[in-house]
């Protein structure tokens, strides 16, 4: 069997490796954070910033809310041949004071989640495209 190659499903949204991070931007003038990356104009109405630093966002946060999906969503979601329910969490980052969505890591039971629980960012396969595994960021409860 040949080893499948691995590539992010979207370029420049997250880093990979043992301790992956989401990649955001921070306005050079007012220091507000953005995810996905904002690089044209600052969305703070009191700021006209147009230059941004690329920053790695906090890779841990607390669950704001969560939900499990039992039906196959429409395209452009790619489900593969057999659809499996999946969970999505909204996670609050303390330093950035923002909530970011993501699927929850495979194998984590919906019933084991609670609002306020601490989670960390991981990178997992989202779907396969030919011989390539396309990856995405996901949230996973921090082992206690």
């Amino acid at each position: 069997m040949t080893q499948k190659s691995v590539a992010p499903s979207i370029e420049g949204w997250f880093t990979t490796g043992d301790t992956p991070h989401l990649i955001g931007t921070q306005c050079k003038i007012c220091r507000t954070y953005f995810f996905p990356k904002q690089d044209l104009f600052c969305k703070n109405p009191g700021c006209r910033g147009t230059e941004f630093d690329e920053v790695e966002l906090s890779r841990t946060g607390k669950i704001w809310s969560y939900t499990e999906h039992y039906y196959q969503p429409p395209e452009p979601y790619i489900s593969g041949d057999d659809f499996e329910p999946y969970t999505i969490a909204a996670v609050e980052l303390d330093k950035e004071k923002m909530v970011i969505l993501g699927q929850v890591a495979k194998g984590v039971a919906h019933a084991d989640l609670t609002t306020g629980q601490e989670v960390e960012l991981v990178v997992e396969t989202l779907y396969e495209e030919g011989e390539t595994e396309k990856t995405v960021w996901k949230w996973k409860p921090v082992a206690s």
Binding site: S9, I10, C27, C30, R31, T32, Y33, F34, F35, P36, K43, N44, P45, G46, W64, S65, Y66, T67, E68, H69, Y70, Y71, P73, P74, E75, P76, Y77, I78, S79, Y86, I88, A90, K95, E96, K97, M98, V99, I100, L101, G102, Q103, H110, T114, T115, G116, L126, V136
Partner: protein, 395 residues
């Protein structure tokens, strides 16, 4: 000076899955609204259409499409798109022309023909469109967001699955008395709780369907109404405010909220601010309302609205539901029309349908779903990309 305009006539095409062109529904609603107003098409000075994005070019230029279908009359035309608030934005444009003395009487109309199933993003590979990307990268549907709000109510305020089901049971019962509703079926708590789980904790019968339908409203200056010797229902406020930065509640179709690291979160959430702006403009408060029509895209979302429109403090919505305050006969009936639970959503027509219901209620013409002695009512809705609206009408 009071910024009031008159509702002279309202009309709807019943909601359903009729499989016809949206223009047919719209024309039926227009003619009913004209009859209700005692006017002819040639009396109308402006047509304000709410756009449907799912019906090709004719839908993009809805105002002109209806004007042509009714017969070119030289009327001025406008078309609005504001997602679920499209109908309110069309009313607001019409109202602005009346208050600016640019026109006396205007026909506002919205109609839709919808596809089956989940609302999906437009086709094609669109890597810069968050509405497309949320499906591709997360499988994040509209019910995802509704479910996140619902779960948070459970964990923060002690809402139960029975509460969510009870909203559906209530609205289904209300809708049985509405000839324009799509569903006329009573539900028991057990039936709702036995329906399949879609996005935990929300079940199939708790998430609104998509429907075909149309609604039209004829509005005029108060002077024009008096000349026609009528004592009309008045539009007291139309709020179409956008969010205030930073928007800290996760909202469709976004991946994240704004960051509150630099600028503190505003005192009011976006949905709070939609209603607040309407109350301020009307010079009325929640205590003056006899009824409310709110956007129950999910049954749980109706509970959020109780708080957003000021019927109770945050966290008290379940109490209001459980003590019967929001059912017909209660202190402040919510969704006496049956709401989206009984209609399903016909996006460009829905905000107009809410105004039609207020009008019938305030005239005392709502039949078996009549709110006794209704004096004033509020509508509220919210849609994609920072759109939302609230309309307040009074006798």
């Amino acid at each position: 000076m009071a910024k009031e305009v008159a509702v002279l006539g309202v009309g709807m095409h019943p909601w359903g899955k009729w499989g016809k062109n949206f223009v047919e529904y719209g024309i039926k609603a227009c003619n009913d609204a004209l009859d209700d107003a005692g006017l002819e098409w040639n009396d109308i000075e402006v047509v304000a259409g709410a756009e449907t994005v799912r019906n090709g070019y004719a839908g993009y230029v809805a105002g002109a499409t209806f004007a042509e279908a009714l017969g070119w009359s030289g009327a001025r035309v406008s078309t609005s798109y504001a997602a679920c608030a499209s109908g309110s934005q069309a009313i607001n444009n019409a109202r602005a022309m009346i208050l600016a003395d640019m026109a006396d009487v205007i026909l506002v109309v919205g109609a839709d023909t919808t596809p089956k199933g989940f609302l999906a993003p437009n086709a094609g590979e669109r890597w810069a469109d968050p509405d497309w990307l949320r499906f591709r990268l997360m499988g994040c549907t509209n019910p995802t967001y509704f479910a996140l709000y619902a779960r948070r109510r459970m964990d923060l305020y002690g809402a139960t699955e029975e509460d969510f089901a009870a909203v559906k049971v209530k609205n289904a019962r209300h809708g049985m008395a509405n000839p324009n509703a799509r569903y006329h079926k009573e539900f028991t708590m057990e039936q709702v709780l036995a329906s399949p789980m879609v996005a935990d904790p929300l079940r199939l019968f708790e998430i609104c369907a998509t429907s075909d339908g149309a609604a039209a409203v004829v509005i005029s200056s108060m002077e024009f109404a008096r000349k026609h010797n009528v004592d009309p229902v008045k539009i007291r406020a139309v709020s179409t405010v956008t969010p205030t930065y930073p928007q800290t509640t996760i909202d469709m179709p976004y991946f994240s909220t704004d960051s509150a690291a630099t600028v503190d979160a505003p005192a009011l959430t976006f949905k709070d601010s939609i209603a607040q702006a309407a109350y301020e403009e009307a010079g009325l408060g929640p205590e003056d309302m006899s009824l409310a029509e709110v956007y129950d895209l999910s049954s749980a979302l109706e509970l959020d609205w109780y708080e957003n429109i000021g019927l109770c403090p945050k966290g008290d919505a379940e109490k209001l539901l459980r003590d019967g305050s929001t059912q017909l006969g209660g202190r402040i009936p919510v969704n006496p029309s049956g709401g989206l639970a009984s209609f399903g959503e016909a996006v460009p027509a829905q905000a107009l349908a809410q105004v039609c219901e207020l009008t019938w209620q305030l005239r005392g013409q709502a039949g078996d779903r009549q709110v006794e002695g209704a004096k004033a009512g509020i509508t509220a809705n919210v849609g994609l990309f920072g759109h939302g609206s609230s309309v307040i009408c009074s006798v």
